[in-house]
Amino acid sequence: SQWGEENLQALSIQEGEDVTMNCSYKTYTTVVHWYRQDSGRGPALIILIRSNEREKRSGRLRATLDTSSQSSSLSITAAQCEDTAVYFCATDASSSFSKLVFGQGTSLSVVP
Protein backbone atom coordinates (compact mmCIF):
# COMPACT_ATOMS: atom_id res chain seq x y z
CA SER A 1 0.00 0.00 0.00
CA GLN A 2 1.11 3.55 -0.64
CA TRP A 3 0.16 4.55 2.86
CA GLY A 4 1.34 3.68 6.33
CA GLU A 5 -0.93 2.13 8.93
CA GLU A 6 -3.88 4.49 8.98
CA ASN A 7 -7.41 3.28 9.54
CA LEU A 8 -10.21 5.84 9.54
CA GLN A 9 -9.52 7.84 12.66
CA ALA A 10 -12.19 9.64 14.59
CA LEU A 11 -11.53 12.94 16.31
CA SER A 12 -13.97 14.99 18.34
CA ILE A 13 -13.11 18.51 19.44
CA GLN A 14 -14.92 21.55 20.73
CA GLU A 15 -15.62 24.62 18.68
CA GLY A 16 -12.74 27.08 18.84
CA GLU A 17 -10.04 24.48 19.36
CA ASP A 18 -7.19 23.84 16.98
CA VAL A 19 -6.73 20.39 15.45
CA THR A 20 -4.02 18.67 13.43
CA MET A 21 -4.44 15.58 11.27
CA ASN A 22 -1.43 13.62 10.09
CA CYS A 23 -0.63 11.39 7.15
CA SER A 24 2.46 9.42 6.29
CA TYR A 25 3.15 7.85 2.93
CA LYS A 26 5.55 5.23 1.66
CA THR A 27 6.46 6.14 -1.91
CA TYR A 28 7.46 9.16 -3.95
CA THR A 29 4.92 11.88 -4.54
CA THR A 30 5.03 15.21 -6.33
CA VAL A 31 2.11 16.66 -4.42
CA VAL A 32 -0.13 15.94 -1.44
CA HIS A 33 -3.79 16.77 -1.73
CA TRP A 34 -6.12 17.28 1.19
CA TYR A 35 -9.81 16.66 0.58
CA ARG A 36 -12.83 16.98 2.80
CA GLN A 37 -15.96 14.95 2.31
CA ASP A 38 -19.25 16.03 3.77
CA SER A 39 -22.00 13.54 4.35
CA GLY A 40 -23.79 12.68 1.11
CA ARG A 41 -21.33 14.55 -1.09
CA GLY A 42 -18.18 13.79 -3.02
CA PRO A 43 -14.71 14.79 -1.79
CA ALA A 44 -13.77 18.42 -2.32
CA LEU A 45 -10.17 19.63 -2.61
CA ILE A 46 -9.35 22.06 0.18
CA ILE A 47 -5.59 22.47 -0.07
CA LEU A 48 -2.77 21.11 -2.19
CA ILE A 49 0.90 21.21 -1.24
CA ARG A 50 3.70 20.43 -3.67
CA SER A 51 6.96 18.66 -3.00
CA ASN A 52 8.93 21.93 -3.18
CA GLU A 53 6.75 23.55 -0.50
CA ARG A 54 7.07 22.97 3.23
CA GLU A 55 3.95 24.83 4.24
CA LYS A 56 0.77 26.10 2.59
CA ARG A 57 -1.97 28.20 4.10
CA SER A 58 -5.53 28.83 3.06
CA GLY A 59 -7.70 30.74 5.50
CA ARG A 60 -7.84 28.72 8.72
CA LEU A 61 -6.15 25.75 7.06
CA ARG A 62 -2.45 25.02 7.16
CA ALA A 63 -0.81 22.09 5.40
CA THR A 64 2.75 20.95 5.87
CA LEU A 65 4.85 18.53 3.89
CA ASP A 66 8.06 16.87 4.96
CA THR A 67 9.41 14.87 2.05
CA SER A 68 12.34 13.54 4.10
CA SER A 69 10.00 11.81 6.56
CA GLN A 70 7.28 11.32 3.90
CA SER A 71 4.62 12.89 6.03
CA SER A 72 2.04 15.64 5.71
CA SER A 73 -0.28 17.35 8.15
CA LEU A 74 -3.41 19.44 7.96
CA SER A 75 -4.19 21.88 10.74
CA ILE A 76 -7.42 23.77 11.30
CA THR A 77 -7.29 26.82 13.51
CA ALA A 78 -10.28 27.73 15.67
CA ALA A 79 -12.43 24.92 14.34
CA GLN A 80 -16.08 25.61 13.62
CA CYS A 81 -19.03 23.23 13.61
CA GLU A 82 -19.10 23.46 9.81
CA ASP A 83 -15.62 21.92 9.73
CA THR A 84 -17.22 18.62 10.70
CA ALA A 85 -16.38 16.23 7.86
CA VAL A 86 -14.11 13.38 6.84
CA TYR A 87 -10.67 14.59 5.77
CA PHE A 88 -8.52 12.60 3.36
CA CYS A 89 -4.96 13.06 2.26
CA ALA A 90 -3.93 11.77 -1.15
CA THR A 91 -0.62 11.44 -2.93
CA ASP A 92 -0.08 11.92 -6.62
CA ALA A 93 3.10 10.77 -8.35
CA SER A 94 1.91 11.13 -11.92
CA SER A 95 3.39 13.88 -14.04
CA SER A 96 1.07 14.21 -17.01
CA PHE A 97 -2.27 13.78 -15.25
CA SER A 98 -3.53 13.35 -11.72
CA LYS A 99 -3.66 9.83 -10.31
CA LEU A 100 -4.55 9.97 -6.64
CA VAL A 101 -3.90 7.39 -3.95
CA PHE A 102 -6.00 8.22 -0.91
CA GLY A 103 -5.11 7.64 2.70
CA GLN A 104 -7.74 6.26 5.05
CA GLY A 105 -8.98 9.57 6.35
CA THR A 106 -9.95 11.24 9.58
CA SER A 107 -13.53 11.75 10.67
CA LEU A 108 -13.58 15.10 12.45
CA SER A 109 -16.49 16.12 14.62
CA VAL A 110 -16.60 19.69 15.95
CA VAL A 111 -19.13 20.13 18.72
CA PRO A 112 -20.46 23.40 20.18
Binding site: W3, N7, L8, T30, V31, H33, Y35, G40, R41, G42, P43, A44, L45, L48, F88, D92, S96, F97, S98, K99, L100, V101, F102, G103, Q104, G105
Partner: protein
Protein backbone atom coordinates in the same frame (compact mmCIF):
# COMPACT_ATOMS: atom_id res chain seq x y z
CA UNK B 1 -16.83 26.34 -11.95
CA UNK B 2 -16.66 22.63 -12.58
CA UNK B 3 -19.82 20.63 -12.23
CA UNK B 4 -19.69 16.86 -12.12
CA UNK B 5 -23.03 15.11 -12.09
CA UNK B 6 -23.78 11.50 -11.43
CA UNK B 7 -26.89 9.49 -12.19
CA UNK B 8 -28.58 7.87 -10.51
CA UNK B 9 -27.75 8.99 -6.96
CA UNK B 10 -29.03 5.69 -5.56
CA UNK B 11 -29.15 2.35 -7.33
CA UNK B 12 -30.55 -0.96 -6.20
CA UNK B 13 -29.37 -4.00 -8.14
CA UNK B 14 -29.83 -7.74 -7.92
CA UNK B 15 -26.97 -10.17 -7.69
CA UNK B 16 -25.95 -11.32 -11.15
CA UNK B 17 -27.57 -8.38 -12.96
CA UNK B 18 -25.73 -5.65 -14.85
CA UNK B 19 -25.31 -2.13 -13.53
CA UNK B 20 -24.57 1.02 -15.51
CA UNK B 21 -23.65 4.29 -13.80
CA UNK B 22 -23.39 7.61 -15.59
CA UNK B 23 -21.19 10.64 -15.02
CA UNK B 24 -21.11 13.96 -16.82
CA UNK B 25 -18.95 17.07 -16.54
CA UNK B 26 -19.41 20.58 -17.85
CA UNK B 27 -15.85 21.89 -18.09
CA UNK B 28 -14.33 19.71 -20.81
CA UNK B 29 -11.58 18.34 -18.54
CA UNK B 30 -9.41 15.82 -20.32
CA UNK B 31 -9.48 13.12 -17.65
CA UNK B 32 -12.41 11.36 -16.00
CA UNK B 33 -12.09 8.93 -13.11
CA UNK B 34 -14.14 6.33 -11.29
CA UNK B 35 -13.51 5.48 -7.64
CA UNK B 36 -15.14 2.99 -5.31
CA UNK B 37 -15.62 3.95 -1.70
CA UNK B 38 -16.80 1.63 1.05
CA UNK B 39 -17.71 2.77 4.58
CA UNK B 40 -14.72 3.73 6.71
CA UNK B 41 -12.37 3.19 3.79
CA UNK B 42 -10.54 5.53 1.47
CA UNK B 43 -11.74 6.04 -2.11
CA UNK B 44 -10.08 3.49 -4.35
CA UNK B 45 -9.31 4.26 -7.98
CA UNK B 46 -10.94 1.77 -10.36
CA UNK B 47 -10.14 3.26 -13.76
CA UNK B 48 -9.77 6.51 -15.63
CA UNK B 49 -9.97 7.92 -19.13
CA UNK B 50 -7.22 10.26 -20.25
CA UNK B 51 -8.84 11.73 -23.32
CA UNK B 52 -10.00 8.61 -25.19
CA UNK B 53 -7.58 6.19 -23.56
CA UNK B 54 -8.94 3.92 -20.85
CA UNK B 55 -6.64 2.92 -18.00
CA UNK B 56 -7.85 0.28 -15.56
CA UNK B 57 -6.20 -0.57 -12.27
CA UNK B 58 -4.65 -4.03 -12.20
CA UNK B 59 -6.68 -5.42 -9.33
CA UNK B 60 -10.04 -4.31 -10.77
CA UNK B 61 -9.26 -4.91 -14.41
CA UNK B 62 -11.76 -7.67 -14.96
CA UNK B 63 -14.56 -6.37 -12.77
CA UNK B 64 -15.40 -3.03 -14.34
CA UNK B 65 -15.85 -1.67 -17.83
CA UNK B 66 -16.20 1.92 -18.94
CA UNK B 67 -16.97 3.99 -21.98
CA UNK B 68 -16.52 7.64 -22.83
CA UNK B 69 -18.59 8.46 -25.93
CA UNK B 70 -17.57 12.12 -25.77
CA UNK B 71 -15.51 14.35 -23.52
CA UNK B 72 -18.41 15.18 -21.24
CA UNK B 73 -19.75 11.71 -20.42
CA UNK B 74 -18.29 8.61 -18.86
CA UNK B 75 -20.01 5.44 -17.73
CA UNK B 76 -19.08 2.65 -15.34
CA UNK B 77 -20.42 -0.78 -16.18
CA UNK B 78 -20.63 -3.87 -14.02
CA UNK B 79 -21.53 -6.93 -16.07
CA UNK B 80 -22.73 -9.11 -13.20
CA UNK B 81 -23.10 -7.47 -9.83
CA UNK B 82 -22.06 -9.29 -6.69
CA UNK B 83 -22.72 -8.39 -3.07
CA UNK B 84 -19.16 -7.07 -2.80
CA UNK B 85 -19.97 -4.34 -5.30
CA UNK B 86 -22.18 -2.53 -2.78
CA UNK B 87 -20.41 0.78 -2.28
CA UNK B 88 -20.40 4.47 -3.14
CA UNK B 89 -19.10 5.09 -6.67
CA UNK B 90 -17.46 8.45 -7.16
CA UNK B 91 -16.79 10.04 -10.50
CA UNK B 92 -14.23 12.81 -10.90
CA UNK B 93 -13.09 15.02 -13.74
CA UNK B 94 -9.82 16.85 -13.87
CA UNK B 95 -6.94 18.37 -15.70
CA UNK B 96 -3.37 18.68 -14.52
CA UNK B 97 -3.13 17.81 -10.84
CA UNK B 98 -6.66 18.74 -9.75
CA UNK B 99 -9.72 16.50 -9.65
CA UNK B 100 -13.31 17.57 -9.09
CA UNK B 101 -15.66 15.00 -7.68
CA UNK B 102 -19.33 14.37 -8.24
CA UNK B 103 -21.73 13.57 -5.41
CA UNK B 104 -21.48 9.83 -5.95
CA UNK B 105 -23.88 6.99 -6.68
CA UNK B 106 -24.71 4.73 -3.80
CA UNK B 107 -25.08 1.18 -5.12
CA UNK B 108 -26.72 -1.52 -3.06
CA UNK B 109 -26.61 -5.06 -4.41
CA UNK B 110 -29.09 -7.54 -2.99
Amino acid sequence: DTTVKQNPRYKLARVGKPVNLICSQTMNHDTMYWYQKKPNQAPKLLLFYYDKILNREADTFEKFQSSRPNNSFCSLYIGSAGLEYSAMYLCAAGTGDTQYFGPGTRLLVL
